[in-house]
Amino acid sequence: MQDETFAPRDWTSHPPLNHPAYKSTLLRSPSKPLVPLRQTLSELSGPVYGHDTLGPLDADLTRNARKTSEPIGERIIVTGRVLDENGRPIRNTLLEIWQANASGRYIDAVDRHDAPLDPNFLGGGRCVTDADGRYRFTTIKPGAYPWGNHANAWRPAHIHFSLFGPSIATRLITQMYFPGDPLMPLDPIFQATPEGARDRLISAFSLDATESGFALGFAFDIVLRGRHSTPMET
């Protein structure tokens, strides 16, 4: 009656819950191990958000909050595919992104960084993957910004991604980084990821995705948990 279960979260790919170099994890990570759970219908299902979820400008962050003129900064295209671990495209799944503006400032009222807000830029967007699992955003390249984790700490430029996939088991929130950013080796959030998995967080410059005379392109594929081939125990 039910579908196949999902492969577990791959803890050789994900960062640990407690990573002391990222100080906020110290009091926000469980001290007890996660309790194993055999997936039930509750975990094999999840919210469904299709194309009807979207407003017409949701995927274009250079336009979706424009008031008087274009936002300041370097226009970029961010595009890629959402796949499962078996390489199958994940169709019709919602991606939500949020980011700082070109000066490294978030519109979030909690952000106290002394860098200018851009009245024409919100920094939030969303889109839904097509039949090949492909998504595409137009946005502004975010700036680096300082934070209080340690002396002279700066976050590398990044875009936050949130995805659902087919169930709550495939839920993922991650961050996309830019190739060659010298701050990545110094960033405890990026570095918390196991060494062999870090490259999967870095987008690649793509001439194919670059629009002539308009914007540089960056490619970033995302892999969510895939289905086991064995049927679920009941």
């Binding site: 492969a7 990222y22 906020s24 926000r28 469904v48 169930s167 892999v223």
Partner: protein, 195 residues
Amino acid sequence: MAFRQTPSQTVGPFFSFGLAPEQYGYAFRSIAGATLIDNGTPGSHIRVLGRVFDGEGQPMSDALIEIWQADAEGRYAHPADPRCSNTAFKGFGRTGTGTDFEKRFIFDTVMPGAVAGQAPHINVIVFARGMLNHLYTRLYFEDQAEANAHDPVLQSVQSERRGTLLARRDGATAPTTYRFDVRLQGEGETVFFDV
């Protein structure tokens, strides 16, 4: 499994305008919020509220809580459920803890029906700055003792920790309200599942 999972990263402190813009007052539509029902939603309307505490017992104002639940008949609005809900009840809620003066999350929803051999429950996902991975837990209802006693997931948890998964009746006024506090670490640490 030829492709490897994309690593998780923290939601960070600045998700409000992206993930819950209407709640925080930004001019961008939210896909989901803290109210899962309208007056016509079938079932028993309930309120579920609580706070998220860190390892020093401090309530957190920058957590993001998502809930996923069945409708009053125990049906999920998803194709994996053969009894797929045909009501307007979507079953998904999302809210941050940064707009309530007591740092609570407050969901208005329906009492979920029992799902295939399980006690009524709400699936809860917790995100926050300082959490490199989201955590899954489940909310069960204290006053469903008989169903809880036969729930395979709840019964798989050590008896002394089961209470962390029970939402308790909070006050006697309408709407029927349940309190479910989440403790990330330490005394009374909530059970989190490796889903």
